[in-house]
């Protein structure tokens, strides 16, 4: 591991990063940019973001703290933090390859073979190889452990049959991290699962785009029909699929593998909602003169500030003594539900204009708020619904018994 940098080194680096993002960041390419990696809908958007990630990587501001021998920058993780801060400051577009860089990459760096690291890491950082995730199935959304996609060993291959759904970037991806069932007689549902680094561009794998409630695309359903993959694709050994899948979640906290940097989801700038409210009119007066709207907006400000400060408090053990897992486990629930409520609330500001949608010239901010509201459900449903999140908080932070 590289030595901890001095304050002066970090300051120099921060200035370089700041200058680079100032010069290179394109915020308005002339079409609407996705706010998250789950919303990449058009070729134009995909090409732009793939190009952007490559540029950032080549400039050294992505994967700066991943090992040099596999394509990373080999630097101390503080440098990456500084670079990510510069990206945020300049409101840079998202990094595209979320599943690769956030999930598969750390897993491979942690537990993969030398050959896998050599093969996968660098093209994943440059966004040349896009990765997707195959966990959810049409019949098994919240109950991931019950995944039924079948992987049957046949000589040196596995033969795959079944279907995965909600695959972000599934039609663009070269690889999928795949949770499949290799043993239907295992003592419990988890023990029958195995984890694969699965190639997507092979015979027997097809994808079908899913039109979202927004009217846009971004997810696919992936169908496996006698798709044959090499047994080398198995990762972590047969029967260890569930623990591999759970491990990918641990890396988000960055404890074992240094975070790759950047962000895959653009945080909603809530101050824009305040601005929108301030610029809206009701009964001929500023909207925020209306006591009901004023009170609601204030409550949301309290919520926003709490969640922002929670991110700092999470790293303060002295304020986390009673239930150390409380804040980390509730974060997804609280944040995604707040964003859903806020974006819905933003429609209430718009009066008659709340009726317009993306594509109409009369729509406020080109329909950004409507689209954000409808898309907000991707986060309250995806990655474990809010209802499942409440079970997780109840069972793992508050010690309540499982729901059966």
């Amino acid at each position: 591991m590289a030595d901890k940098p001095s304050a002066a080194e970090l300051k120099d680096y921060a200035e370089q990063a700041d200058a680079w993002f100032k010069e290179n960041t394109v915020r308005d390419p002339g079409f609407m940019l996705p706010l998250t990696f789950m919303e990449v809908s058009t070729d134009q958007q995909f090409d732009f973001l793939q190009d952007w990630q490559r540029k950032v990587y080549e400039a050294g501001y992505l994967g700066a703290s991943w090992p040099k021998e596999y394509g990373g920058g080999g630097m101390h993780s503080e440098f990456q933090r500084v670079a990510t801060r510069a990206m945020k400051k300049h409101d840079a577009p998202i990094m595209l390859n979320a599943i690769g860089n956030g999930w598969a990459g750390p897993l491979i760096l942690d537990l993969g073979t030398e050959e896998q690291k050599q093969k996968f890491i660098k093209p994943m950082l440059s966004a040349e190889d896009i990765w997707c995730q195959g966990f959810s199935e049409p019949e098994n959304g919240s109950d991931l452990g019950n995944a039924q996609l079948k992987a049957v060993k046949d000589g040196d291959d596995y033969v795959l049959n079944g279907s995965k759904i909600w695959t972000s970037l599934g039609d663009r991806a070269k690889y999928m991290i795949l949770l499949a069932r290799t043993d239907f007689d295992a003592p419990n549902k988890y023990a029958g699962l195995s984890f694969f680094l699965n190639p997507m561009k092979i015979d027997g794998i097809t994808t079908s785009r899913i039109k979202k409630l927004t009217g846009e695309y971004g997810f696919v359903q992936t169908f496996f029909t006698d798709a044959r993959i090499s047994a080398d694709c198995l990762f972590g050994g047969e029967g260890n699929g569930w623990s591999m899948a759970m491990k990918t979640l641990e890396y988000e906290r960055g404890a074992k593998v240094k975070p790759v940097g950047g962000f895959f989801v653009k945080e909603l700038d809530v101050m824009e909602i305040v601005e929108l409210a301030k610029n809206s009119v009701r009964n001929g007066k500023p909207l925020l003169d209306d006591p009901v709207m004023r009170d609601k907006m204030t409550q949301y400000m309290i919520d926003i500030q709490a969640l922002n400060l929670n991110n700092t408090r999470r790293r303060m053990p002295q304020l986390m003594q009673d239930r150390p897992m409380g804040l980390p486990l509730m974060n997804k629930l609280a944040r995604t539900e707040l964003i859903r409520e806020l974006t819905e609330f933003s429609l209430a500001f718009q009066g008659t204009k709340a009726g317009y949608y993306v594509g109409d010239e009369n729509a406020v901010d080109d329909g950004y708020w409507h689209r954000s509201y409808l898309n907000s459900f991707s986060a309250t449903i995806g990655g474990g619904t809010s209802e499942i999140q409440r079970n997780i908080v109840a069972e793992h932070a508050l010690g309540l018994p499982k729901t059966r």
Partner: protein, 374 residues
């Protein structure tokens, strides 16, 4: 919005948190809390003496006046743990009186009273009146100044721990302007105090009749400092009550969880039902938000502008989360929840009194809105 603060702690704060966590838990078990409900004084004088000896009343008093020289930030963990254990005593009112003295008292007034408070003398504030308004300057009690003597008249309500306080700081109007007068408890006849029945049975509150009470003109705060004194009192009260309510919210959630983990109905532990589980998680999330705001408010205390926003956010969030958590605690305890024996009502009542004293969540938000949007 540059009036939003950050969060941080001091070493002293965390040390005090550890000490207060153990002290309040050990000295204030709930059977003792309940026994004190029927006690006239309302607290254990031995424990009050210990609190004085621990130096807790001296924390936010400058060293020059016999204090420890820290700030309200370090008072917060103590008030939090008191609230968590329903430990009721004049700690909060005394701390607020000291803050009022620091904001508005003359050098002589500070030199006389702050060392006494630092050593353990109880004190309180008499601010509220019959109009029920949370606006501290909307008052009718008056002082008539003549020949170096001020004659007071009017009634003050919700004067916490007046019976125990050696010093009562009273807000009055002199010539139409809000002023503060230092009234010694010994200068009041017993008839001047009427014990009020307040919803929180662990608290002691009095109506104080000022008619005919006289104080020396030296016992007034400087009129040029009225405004900052009002602001300081309002914020210090918001912070202390936010701390107590945050501790209380934690406690009532823990209390409810215990029940959800042990009570069985239809052959199942009731905590396994999502109808109870999910709202409990929601209440827990709101509590954690309150605690985050509380330590942000403690950290931002004293920062111009940011301090007020942070304190009001903490007060609003703690009042709403404490109220909701306690309300649901009653419901989730079923039939037992409807009884006086269930501790949920202690918390529900305490949250109502706290809101009444400092301004409830909606009031705090209305004040916040002015700071945030105007």
């Amino acid at each position: 919005m540059d009036n939003l603060g950050t969060i941080g702690t001091t070493e002293e704060q965390i040390e005090l948190m550890d000490v207060a966590t153990n002290f309040c838990r050990d000295k204030s078990p709930v059977d003792k809390v309940r026994a004190l409900i029927d006690d006239d004084l309302g607290y254990d004088p031995g424990i009050w003496r210990e609190i004085g000896e621990l130096g807790w009343l001296a924390i936010a008093i400058p060293e020059a006046h016999g204090g420890v020289g820290l700030s309200m930030a370090e008072v917060v963990p103590i008030a939090e743990q008191m609230g968590r254990n329903l430990m009721s005593n004049p700690f909060g009112s005394t701390t607020l009186a000291a803050q009022a003295l620091l904001a508005g008292g003359s050098e002589a007034e500070q030199a006389e009273w702050l060392p006494k408070i630092a050593e353990g003398a109880a004190a309180t504030l008499a601010l509220r009146e019959a109009n029920g308004d949370w606006d501290l300057s909307n008052i009718d009690a008056t002082g008539f100044e003549s020949g170096g003597t001020v004659t007071l008249s009017g009634k003050k309500q919700l004067v916490l721990w007046a019976n125990s306080a050696e010093l009562i700081i009273v807000s009055i109007k002199i010539d139409g302007e809000v002023r503060f007068a230092l009234v010694e408890r010994s200068a009041l006849s017993d008839n001047a105090l009427r014990r009020e029945t307040v919803i929180d049975e662990t608290a002691r509150s009095y109506e104080v009749t000022l008619d005919g009470v006289t104080v020396s003109a030296d016992a007034l705060f400087d009129e040029s400092r009225t405004r900052e004194t009002l602001e300081k009192i309002e914020l210090a009260a918001g912070l202390i009550h936010a701390a107590e309510m945050t501790g209380g919210a934690q406690s009532v959630i823990d209390y409810t969880l215990e029940y959800l983990k042990t009570r069985k109905q239809f052959g199942k532990i009731i905590g396994s039902y999502q109808a109870l589980k999910h709202p409990t998680v929601n209440n827990y999330v709101e509590y954690e938000k309150a605690r985050t705001h509380l330590y942000s408010a403690a950290h931002s205390w004293g920062e111009q502008g940011r301090g007020e926003v942070a304190v009001r956010m903490a007060a609003a969030q703690s009042h709403s989360s404490y109220s909701t958590a306690a309300d649901r605690a009653i419901q989730f305890h079923g039939g037992f929840g409807f009884t006086h024996d269930c501790d949920a009502q202690l918390h529900r009542r305490k949250a109502i009194l706290s809101g009444a004293l400092i301004g409830d969540a909606a009031y705090q938000r209305s004040k916040l809105a002015n700071l945030l949007f105007d």
